[in-house]
Amino acid sequence: MTPKEMVVTLRDRYADEIETILERYPAEQKRSAVMPLIFMAQREEGYITGSAIDEIAELLDIASTQVVSIVGFYTLFYANPGGMHRIQICTDLPCALRGADEFAEQVCENLGVKLGETTDDGQFTVEAVMCLAACDKAPMFQVQNSSGLTYYECQSADDVNVLVKELRTSPDDLDETVSG
């Protein structure tokens, strides 16, 4: 253990936000804040680090294992690092009938990855996901990144190429108002 090592904690970085989140719940039920805190922590690295898990557990006076359980249960929480932008393509039955499988294949080919993999520059991960409730607008996907979730409907592989270019060149210029 190296206690003198400088570790930037969530508390150092997001003191105000943590306080605001905790204020939403009664003090004796502060464990209820676990979801927004995990969501906040994920913004930092795109996934929940081990130290973030311990810190959230400590903040809420629950066991680290309980935080891990919640991260594991929800598909939008990640326990492992991925790309800065996660392209999540719905491949459930109705979307598949509208060509989602071929679409996903093309997107992967254009980015040079397989489903579930991340591009070499660490920018994009392509994932197949379950129903996103937009069956009539397939092929569709959502992008999950530090700005939140954004839906893209009635897409073609070319549309994705354009989007990828936009996201790659100006990751900071993303309009925050479109976040879900």
Binding site: P3, A63, T65, Q66, V67, V68, S69, V71, G72, F73
Partner: protein, 844 residues
């Protein structure tokens, strides 16, 4: 008593308390509804769907509310359109349940088939095979053949360590959550949990060390498949090829009932203990065991056990036979002219202690309990907790006061039960928790569940309890106290709670107190119980957290602490006779010119100093009885053959007694108990036969119904008997004088504390526990640490009693300022009491 509800299950009319679940109601008429996720000690979740039944309720007329009748005059039943889980539906008046219809049979078959879709069916190599609910329920409810191809089964990791004690086989897990719910509801330590979902779901631990709980082994008992196994028993034996011997855990004062499973081992070339399992005794350990009890048994089978008598001759030790050595010892004892000092350990059985006391007394000598650092045994005999008390069942009418004890470390199952009383978590019809008061100088694990936490300074234990008595007695009744409860809002609130409570139990320990200090605390507690009228009944009285398993038995047999050092006690003695005691190892000295005789399991420091060393049998090789802190006398039985020439301690003493012409040799341990019953007050009527009495207990365990309650063993060997207290016998018990102890002052006060996992001779010989045993450390407050310039992990030299001891440092907010917590039995000096010390940081 809850209201009774009457319903009909198949053909049986059943009457059960309101709130009872259908599955338990059916169990009461021997209708075994199969379950996997349901456990009678846990809150129901209805996850596995195995217990599906048909449920109907009487149809009532909407206007009149009267039951509707059919043409035959029978009640019309409104059957629910779908099957219901019997484990989540509570009974209601007039309810009808059908458990044997075609629909139910079909549902059970389908659920089993579903659970087996990806189960590996590796029963031939599975530790659970032979006592497995999944195996048994598949045989009784499942389909004869599988519609699934083996190749289609998902392959998962079969050896996932959840820490080094418990292993997970992911393929076998059926996701019932019994293990995670046990840890969450009944232990309050959710250190294992579910990760991911569906087929990907697995049990994970994120604690450090993995599965960091004193109760982890219990999850392997209640796991309905072979997913969780212990490192101790993994691939160790098949359940059906082992012998079963009822026993009593020798580790702490709770006296958990156990079963020793033994089998011949080719590797060892003899019979060995394969595993220690809980044996049901609802008033003591229910169906649980702590991990120390489960895994800390290896000392008995250790290869360094003594097997032959040893005699020192011209500076050398030589092996001797009993025929030679006993007359030699007898001659020395006879020649001592009564100058015999007897020192007996608190771990010995009642039979050993009684025969030891009889021998030394017969010689005109004196005895001493070792270490004998805690007082109050005589008060426990007077106002001890009422017979029949079940700590976990105590409810709103009861105040539980825990003072000067870290219960979680000193008596794990009592901690478990007190927590249960204070939270009413898990399955219980009584949802009104007892009121818990925890009084200690530092944080302990029990604080989390306390209604009131009383913080005193070390040294103020006795005064704090006296202040409560003072507040209750009103006028003070001549009680001297340095603490004024009247003007202390917290103490007066506690006093009011005690006055209002119907029942009260005081659990007292000896943290920060020596023999006389803890004796004074016991007296102060007894006075409080007497003043508030809480003695002599169930749910009332004094419960001592003794440092050893049979300390109470030692008090009862007349082997009491001497209240002085060993050198003072043995001064002038011509013969020192020791049994199961190692004072030399704890830094005490014996007189140079005395002839020293010892009976022991191991070659301890004292045994190395002795002139004669007599090999004693371990508890697993012999019969005997222990008396726990709640005065429950319990029998243990021989599980292994005798080791070498070793003899039970009691047998050594009665042979010496006979050789000296002081008595005859009883026929066996049972005959010794008859003598105890005749000679020892309050033991009259106790016999081995009566100690073996049992009665029906809830829940059913032990395989009668496919291990519904887990693999804990059914108790068919005895629930034990509690000796009556004077208060229970109708005596008027008077409060006594209390002399509060004085506290030294110095730079730091070193306070010895007790850890469950220490480096004592028993756990050190159980290698499986080694990773859990901490390196020697001291713990101090953050403020003190800063002042002394030491940080967490730093090496320090602790100067106490003129010696320097090198230790690691832990820093926390738990110890009060100016106090160094010093865990016992890790290394270094045995501190008989709190002492002053100084601290110096060592350069790394």
């Amino acid at each position: 008593m809850a209201d009774q509800v009457t319903l009909k299950i198949d053909g049986d009319v059943v009457s059960v308390p309101a709130g009872t679940l259908i599955v338990d109601a059916a169990k009461s008429v021997s209708n075994d509804i199969p379950v996997f996720c349901y456990h009678p000690k846990l809150d129901p979740v209805g996850m596995c769907r195995m217990c599906l039944v048909e449920v109907g309720t009487p149809l009532r007329d909407r206007e009149s509310g009267e039951p509707e009748l059919d043409e035959h005059g029978d009640q019309k039943i409104n059957w629910m359109p779908k099957l219901q889980t019997a484990c989540t539906v509570p009974v209601s008046a007039g309810m009808r349940v059908r458990t044997a219809t075609q629909q139910v049979t079909r549902a059970r078959k389908d659920v089993v088939e579903f659970l087996l879709t990806s189960h590996p069916l590796d029963c031939p190599v599975c530790d659970k095979g032979g006592e497995c609910p999944l195996q048994n329920l598949t045989m009784s409810h499942g389909s004869g053949e599988s519609r699934y191809l083996f190749d289609e089964k998902i392959q998962l990791q079969k050896r996932v360590p959840l820490g080094e004690l418990i292993f997970l086989d992911r393929e076998r897990c059926i996701q019932c959550a019994r293990c995670t719910r046990f840890q969450d509801e009944l232990v309050g330590e959710p250190v294992i949990g579910f990760d991911k979902r569906g087929r990907a779901l697995q049990i994970v631990t994120f604690s450090e060390p993995g599965f960091d709980s004193h109760f982890s082994g219990n999850t392997t008992d209640i796991c309905p498949v072979g997913a969780l196994t212990t490192a101790d028993f993994r691939f160790g034996a098949r359940p059906w090829e082992m012998q079963h011997t009822p026993s009593i855990c020798p580790h702490c004062t709770v006296g958990c009932n156990t079963h020793l499973n033994t089998r011949r081992s080719g590797m060892v070339g003899g019979t060995v203990i394969k595993r220690v399992m809980p044996r049901q005794n609802e008033k003591v350990n229910e169906i649980w065991l702590c991990d120390k009890g489960r895994f800390g048994h290896h000392f008995a089978g250790s290869s360094d056990r003594l097997t032959v008598p040893l005699v020192r001759k011209d500076g050398r030790t030589i092996e001797q036979s009993w025929e030679h050595v006993l007359p030699l010892v007898a001659a020395k004892l006879a020649a001592a002219d009564g100058e015999v000092a007897g020192i007996a350990g608190e771990r010995l059985s009642n039979e050993d202690l009684f025969c030891f006391q009889t021998l030394v007394e017969g010689l005109g000598g004196r005895t001493m309990q070792w270490p004998g650092r805690m007082g109050g045994g005589d008060l426990v005999q007077q106002v001890g907790v009422g017979a029949g008390t079940d700590l976990a069942q105590l409810g709103a009418e009861t105040v539980i006061l825990v003072v000067a004890s870290d219960l979680a470390e000193e008596a794990p199952l009592w901690w478990f039960k007190v927590r249960q009383a204070a939270t009413k978590a898990g399955a219980t019809l009584n949802k009104h928790p007892a009121s818990l008061v925890v009084a200690n100088a530092r944080d302990t694990k029990l604080d989390r569940y306390a209604n009131h936490i009383v913080r005193y300074s070390y040294g103020d234990e006795v005064q704090t309890v006296q202040a409560l008595t003072h507040a209750i007695s009103g006028d003070g009744a001549g009680i001297e106290t340095g603490i004024d409860a009247q003007h202390n809002p917290l103490l007066s609130e506690v006093a009011r709670a005690i006055e209002a409570a119907e029942n009260m139990i005081i659990i007292y320990g000896s943290e920060g107190l020596d023999f006389s200090g803890s004796g004074a605390l016991a007296q102060a507690c007894a006075n409080l119980l007497i003043a508030s009228g809480h003695v002599g009944g169930v749910g009332n009285g004094l419960l001592p957290v003794w440092p050893s398993n049979n300390t109470q038995g030692a008090w009862d047999m007349g082997v009491r602490p001497a209240g002085m050092s060993v050198s003072e006690f043995t001064s002038g003695a011509k013969v020192v006779l020791l049994a199961g005691a190692d004072p030399v190892g704890d830094g005490e000295s014996l007189p140079e010119d005395a002839f020293v005789v010892i009976s022991e399991l191991f070659k301890t420091d004292t045994a190395s100093r002795a002139d004669v060393v007599l090999p004693a049998q371990a508890f697993v090789e012999r019969e005997g009885s222990y008396t726990s802190g709640d005065r429950r006398v319990q029998r243990f039985y021989p599980a292994l053959p005798a080791l070498g020439d070793a003899m039970p301690d009691w047998n050594i003493f009665v042979r010496l007694t006979a050789l000296l012409g002081l008595g005859t040799v009883p026929a066996g341990a049972g005959a010794v108990m008859r003598q105890i019953a005749a000679d020892v007050p309050r033991y009259d009527g106790i016999s081995y036969e009566r100690l073996a009495d049992v009665e029906e207990q809830w829940p059913h365990v032990g395989g009668r119904d496919s291990y519904y309650g887990g693999t804990a063993f059914e108790n068919s060997a005895g629930l034990g008997l509690q000796t009556p207290t004077l208060a229970e016998m109708g005596h008027q018990v008077q409060p006594g004088n209390v002399e509060p102890p004085s506290v030294e002052s110095g730079e730091f006060l070193v306070v010895p504390i007790t850890l469950l996992y220490d480096r004592g001779s028993m756990l050190l010989r159980s290698k499986i526990m080694h990773q859990r045993l901490p390196e020697p450390y001291i713990e101090l407050n953050v403020v003190d640490a800063e002042r002394a310039g030491v940080g967490a992990g730093d090496r320090v030299a602790l100067r106490v009693n003129g010696h320097d001891w090198e230790m690691a440092t832990r820093v926390s907010t738990s110890p009060p300022e100016g106090v160094i917590l010093f865990p016992r039995s890790l290394a270094g000096p045995l501190l008989p009491r709190t002492m002053v010390a100084s601290l110096r940081k060592l350069e790394s």
